[in-house]
Each structure stands twice: as C-alpha cells, then as structure tokens.
Amino acid sequence: MALAEPKVTLDLARGLGLTAEEYDRIIQQLRREPTYTELGLFSALWSEHCAYKHSKVFLRRLPQTGRQVLQGPGENAGAVDIGDGWAVVFKVESHNHPSFIEPFQGAATGVGGILRDIFTMGARPIALLDSLRFGTPGDPKTRRLIEGVVSGISWYGNCFGCPTVGGEIAFAPEYAGNPLVNVMCVGLVRADRIFRARAEGVGNPVFYVGNKTGRDGIHGATMASATFDEHAEERRPTVQVGDPFTEKLLLEACLEAMGTGAVVGIQDMGAAGLACCTSEMPSRSGTGMTVELAAVPQRETGMTPYELLLSESQERMLLVGARGREEELRRVFARWELDAVQIGEVTAGGDLVIRHRGDEVARVPVAALAEAPVYEKPYAPPAWLAERRALDPLALPEPTDYGAALVELMGSATLASKEWAFRQYDQQVGINTLVLPGSDASVLRVKGTRRAIAVSIDGNGRQVLLDPRAGAALAVCEAARNVSCAGGRPLGVTDCLNFGSPERPEILWQFAEAVEGIGEACRALELPVVGGNVSLYNETVGQAILPTPIVGVVGLLDDATLFSTQWFKGEGQRVALLGPDAVSLGGSELLWLRHGQVGGRLAPLDLEVERRVQAAVRAAIGAGLVTATHDCAEGGVAAALAEACVTGKTPVGCDVTLPAGGRRDEVLFGEGPSRVVVSVETDRAREFEALMAESAIPWRWIGTTGGDRLRLRVSGETVVDVGLDQIEHAWRNGFERHMA
C-alpha cells in the first residue's frame, strides 16, 4: 500500500461517527480490533442514514402489507400491483444535507439516487415529484439555494429523460439553515419481472457496472447522520457529482441485461457505496461475498481500499449474475459503453472478504455489518409545546379587508404558482402525462392498458410542529385526498421523515408521534407504507427544522379517461363543499402570514369521515358527475375556491355562500381535514345529491360558477368580492417576484 493507514483507536472511531459502545460492540463481534478498512465499513453501515438505528423501533409499527403489495420496505423501493400484469415501483428519498452544502449537485444527485432505486427493481422510471422546503423567501441566500436546487433537479431529470410531474415548495424560517430536498420517483414494471437486491447462488459472479469510482462523496452517509455547524460548507468534498448521461446509459443497459435473464440480483451503490452493497446483498440472502478491489474501475490513482469501499461516486450498481452467462452481461454493458467488471463472487459462510491486490484488508460477517445496534432512546414532549398550543388565533385581530387578505394569501410564496420552477422541468417526456403539474395530483396513463395512475406528495411542517401525531396523519390524508381528487384509488404510501437530531428527547418524541400518526391514518385508509426514507439530524447550529414528514401516495384509475382536475370548467355550474365544517386557524397559513405565528390547535381529524369523503369524491368522478374537484388545504376553503377559479386555462368566477361558523376569518381561511370543493353541471345535480346521500358524508351546495369575480358571503353578508385578474396576478407573481 502506498500510504500508511491510520492506527485504529477509539478516538479514530469517534471521529468517524461511532460511539464508544459501538466501538466495543465491533470488537466483540470480530473478537479483535478492526482494521482501518473494517472500521470504515462499520462507521458507514452503522450510520443513522444506512441503519435507521434510532428510528427502527418506531418504523416497525407502520402497516406494510396489503393485497396489492408486491414489495414492502427493505428493498431499493416498494411495489404495488396495478392490474393487467403491471406494477408500480415507487419511493421518496431525501438529499437535504448535500443540497445545503452544494445545492446544484446535491439536488441533482438526489434525483440520480432515487432514479436508480427505481430501475434497480427492473422498472422504467416514468415520473419524478419533488418536495422542497426553504427559509424565508426574498432572502438572497434562500434565492441562491432555490436556484441551485431547481436547476440541479432540472438538469439531472431532463437529461436523463424522466418527467417531473409534481411536487411542492414551501417556506419557513426553520429551513433556512437546512433546506429539504425530497425526491420521489415512480416506475413501471411487469409485475412478474421485479428484481431484488439479493446475492443468491454461491459461485455466482459479482459485477461492478456503471461509472468509475473516484474520491467523491466519501463518508456522505456519515455526513447525513450529523448536524451542521457553521463550517458546513467545508464539507463540500463529501457531496457527489452527478452524470445524468451515464445514468441514462445505466438505465438502458440494466433493463436490457435484466431482459436476458442473466441477472440474479442488483443493487444501487448509493449511500456508503460499495461497502453497503457488498454487505446488504449477501445479508439478505444468507450468503457471503469476496471482492477484489483492484478490479474496481477507477478514475483516480492511488485510491486506498477504505476510499474504494466508501466512495459515493454516482451511477454505479453492483450486480450478481448467473454463473456461465458472464459474456452475455458484458456484451450488453459494452453496447452501452459502460464498464461491467467482475470484482468478486458470492460465497457460502456469510463473510464479506475484501482483498486489495490479493491482500486481505477486511473480513467481517455480513450479519454484523447489516445488524447495526438499535436504540430506544428516551423521548418526551417539548416543554414549549403547551404554550404554542395555548395560542388563541381568535384573540388576534380580524382582517379589516377580507378581499385584500385573500389576495395576499394567494400571493404568499407558499401558495403562489410555482411555474417558475416547473417550466424548468420536462413534464411530458414518455408521453404519459394526462394531468400536468398544477392540479391536486398529476395523472399518468399506463400505455397498453385502459388504466392510469395518480400521484401526489405532501407535508405540512407547521401542523406537525403543533401536533406531530395529528399533523403526520393529516399529511397522509392530504396526499391521499389529492390522489382521490384526481380520481385515483390510493394504493400505497412512501414517506420521507425529515426531523432534527433524535438524540434530543423532544425531537425523538416528534418523530415517534409522527410515525404513530402516519400509522393510524394508513390503517384507517387501508394504505400500506411500502418504502421510504428517514432523514434525521436536520439541524444547523442547534436550530432544528420543522418536523416534516413528507408523504407520497400512488393511486390507480381503472379508466384513464375518468380523471378530474382542480379548476372550474364553465359558467352556471353548481359548487358544493364536501366534508365537515370543523376548521381552525391554528397552524394555518393565514396565522403565519398575517401574524408571523405558528400556534393554536388543529381542527379535529375523523379518519372514518376522511375515508368516506375520499370514496365519495372518487365515486362522483367515476360516474362523471363532477367537472372539478379540489382539496381544501393551506388557506382554507377561500383559497381552494380562488385556486379553482384561476388555475385553469380560462379563469371562471364563482358566487358562494359559506356556512356561518365562528369568526369570518376562521370560516374563510381556517384549515381543516377532509374538505373538498367540487363543481357539478346543473343537469347532473340530482344524481350528485343521490350519490352524496348514499356516501353518508356531510356536504352542502354553496354556490354557482360564473363571471369574472370571486364573491364569498357569510351569514348573508358579502365579505369577499374580488376580480379574478387581481387574484390571478397575485398568484402568478407571488413566488416568481422573489426569483426575478
């Protein structure tokens, strides 16, 4: 070896993110001191990012099964059956830490990573969605981050050739030092052709395929498992550099190779690179693996075994082939001008043996690496929570001009149009996108069938802050409701759980409660969680982000022609509000926008009502009874109606009388679950009424579409009467003005 390796000590282990107890445990498992290379393997695989050691005990409580589930958590991504022999593979993953350090490459490689998770399963990626969170809009630093992240997503996704069909961007000061970049990918595969990350068959060859290995991203997984201090930017070398072109070649080559039948198992080299694949794949199959690192294609010279194992160079896969069919595999990858090099083989006995130019540098049982310690750390609700919840929004002054308040709300960065970002994303490649970004959910057809899928991704950190359990349940409900509003029957969930440091009891409590809330909502809606990602340590200089579970839902439409969109389609149609009346200004967009406060209590969530409302919406869409369907989210029913008026190609006004409840600002802008605005042609009103009666949900007619104004009345008094041009102008420019 060219360079002398550092001496293995407890201090060195600590420097690599391991604790003293973990270091002792390694010595116990090996019955000796680890070598430097072995220590590197443990530090990466036992990192929070790879091992979920603080979160595992909670995640086990999520519902993960269902008739439609073809693959649950534990593989590169989850899969659900959509009929006609097809399956949808999907997953959401975070790339928060790298995106803060280097927004463009951080976000780009986030896209690259999740794309690989999907196509390692044998699926062709057909859609991307991004959930992004930033600090205060208008802050030059926020602007630079948004520009970097959006152009990184645009560059990678567009060049690769997968459309970005949805997502959301929201703002809160808590994200200023730790933005969130969560990317979800959806792929399509024949249900009987799903590939898994397994190293089966002793003697089978292990191939390294794709990009060459460099020194980029070494210890990325460890970085993602620590909080940031003021020197965060010095960690730039731990951010990987993406190459979407090579990724595209890797996609085509992998799918072609899988088609030959010579692929036994395959895994993406993501976090912790080769170290992760060479231990996880045999560990899933009860086998072992020997690897010769000198055979790994390298683009830098003098790389040590430690560096080769822990590099997070992008666009690489580890593939286990069928013995005797090596030439077939090599031919496929050569056709796509990619490296495919045999670096080892599957062995019996359960050891991972790493050699470098023949010298053994590591020998570790794969089970030891794969079975990281699981922690049950203490958790407790934060002391400040009671005070926040005690805030009474109705003790604060009421807006004097409701029309102006609505226009301001529609122009707030979180509610305003995100066209500035979406026009930088290819939304149509693959010619499947039936509903483009800008409605509650996006809809993609499944070619060769009559079916379509609807996809949505949602989360609201403010609600989770005030009530982690209910807030997380609301995120599931909203994502599912969005899919239902497009006409899709929700089939499965993927979640990305973004939180601060789990070593603080209050953060771990938020996490535990949120997971419980997701579980409750998923059980009530019969939605299995088939995969996801946990991103902890989202803190900079002790400031944690808002607790932000992001929930992605995929739903199925049996008839691709029966989808619905959120905007009104014509004049003289009747408008109905489905769902309960209960709303609250607690944690609402209005409370934040006008008073700069996050406090109060959330409106109660009745999961049975939620389920019935969603079923009623789907039934109405399926029967062709509704012309528009729109979920009430941030900004309450007033914002939902305003969006229904102005987000279509041609603005359509409406005149609506809202049921009198509490104070007028609560009636208009209060937020509550299970509420959907719909429009119905007058000659279908009778049928619609019958269907609603059958659905046994609370609902009422509230008005009629038409004209070029939005008029809202409460208790016989007109409280909002605004021209659509004014609303549309605020909505179109509200976000973009910060980017100009």
Binding site: W155, P244, L249
Partner: protein, 249 residues
Amino acid sequence: MHLASGEEKLDSMRFGVVVFPGTWSDCDFHYVISEVIRQPVKYVWHRDRDLADLDCVVLPGGFSYGDYLRAGAVAGRSPVVEALPEFLGRGGLVLGSCNGFQILCEAGLLPGALMRNECLQYRCQSTSLLVENAETPFTRALRPGQVLTMPISHGEGKYHADPETLRTLRQNNQVVFRYATPEGQVTRAANPNGSVENIAGIVNAEGTVLGLMPHPERAAESAMGGTDGLQIFHSLLGSLVEDGTFLKR
C-alpha cells in the same frame, strides 16, 4: 387519410427512429408512428449506416452523448448521421426534433446553430407556431398562416444564423415555423428562447430535411392535450401517396 384496404401496401411509409446514447424521445416517436399513425417503424442504432429499407429517418430529442460538449456536437459526427447524405440522395426524408435539430445543424445538414436559451434556463412549455412554408413534405397538410400548438422542452434552442444565411433562408422559403402568439403574431413575447427572427423550424434548400425545436410527438393525441403535431406526420404520409416517390424503391 385512409386508403382502401387493398391499397394498404401503398399507404405505408417506413420510419426509422435513431437511438443515440442519451436519446429519450425515441420511444415517444416510435409509439406515435406505430400506434397513432400506424406505420412500420424500427429503431436505428447510432452506429448503423444501413438505412436502405427506410423512407423517413427521425432524429428524436434527448441529450445525445450527454451533450456535454455542445448539444448535438458528438452525434453530428456519428456513423448514422454520416450515412444521411446518401440516404437523402436516394430520396429519403429526415425529421429532426429538439436534439435532432441540434444534431442536423452540427452535421451541416441544416444551416445555423442552436445556442443556450436567452433566459439561461431550461424551458418546458406550450408554444404556438406560425406555419410559414406549407410546401414541404413535412407541412403539405397545412396552410401558410396556420397556427399550431406544440410543446418545447430544451435548454439550448435559441436558433442563430448569420445575416447572409438568414437572407438565404428567407429567399428559399426555408423557414417553416416561427414562434408566435396563439393569434399568429410573431412577437418578442411569444419567443420562448430568444431564437433569431423567432425561428422554430427550418428545412434544407431541397425541403427534404426538417429541423424543429418543438415536439410534434407530444402533440399527436388528444389525451396529451392536442393533435397539431400529427399534422406533420399526416403531411409525410400525404406526400408519399401524391407522388409515389417512396414506392419506387
């Protein structure tokens, strides 16, 4: 345009869709040609030079070779593109969309060049195209002055040519499409990428090579929001039947 079933053989035009490493509109063109206009179509690998059994070669969108040099620069020198002059000499037609247009310019089969969008960002949006020349094999189902709606999706679509070239293009009526308002006004605001004179698509002097930045394959079914792109395919089929050029081979 449909012929009686007995004449089906005459109705077919043989398409080849070229696949470079990094091409991504290949499957979309293939789908529209086989499933929507129902013509024989096959993929052509970028290393192939044999185009003997084809009537029309499509260079689709994407990022050929990653476009890390200049868009289309490497693909413009690939074996399949080197075979195009001979193919054209035999009466073949070539349609390049998006990256295909960039490749045709890089290969010198069309004049001018495509540069980074003026806004310096990628743009995916719907555009309105004013039809200027309806006498090419690609546009003969259209009328001059007609406005088509088709999406664009590119980062380097700003067409550029020197004044001399622009003069020649005008003289020979080689400008086929210009970005316009939905009413057909050629305005600065309707220009999504800063192309000189709002040029969105041109043909070579012979009218046998069309390059355009918009994506006709994404506007070929009503489910995708419009069928204006289909007019280009219908024009191709129409030209086949009218002069029978492709039946002689």
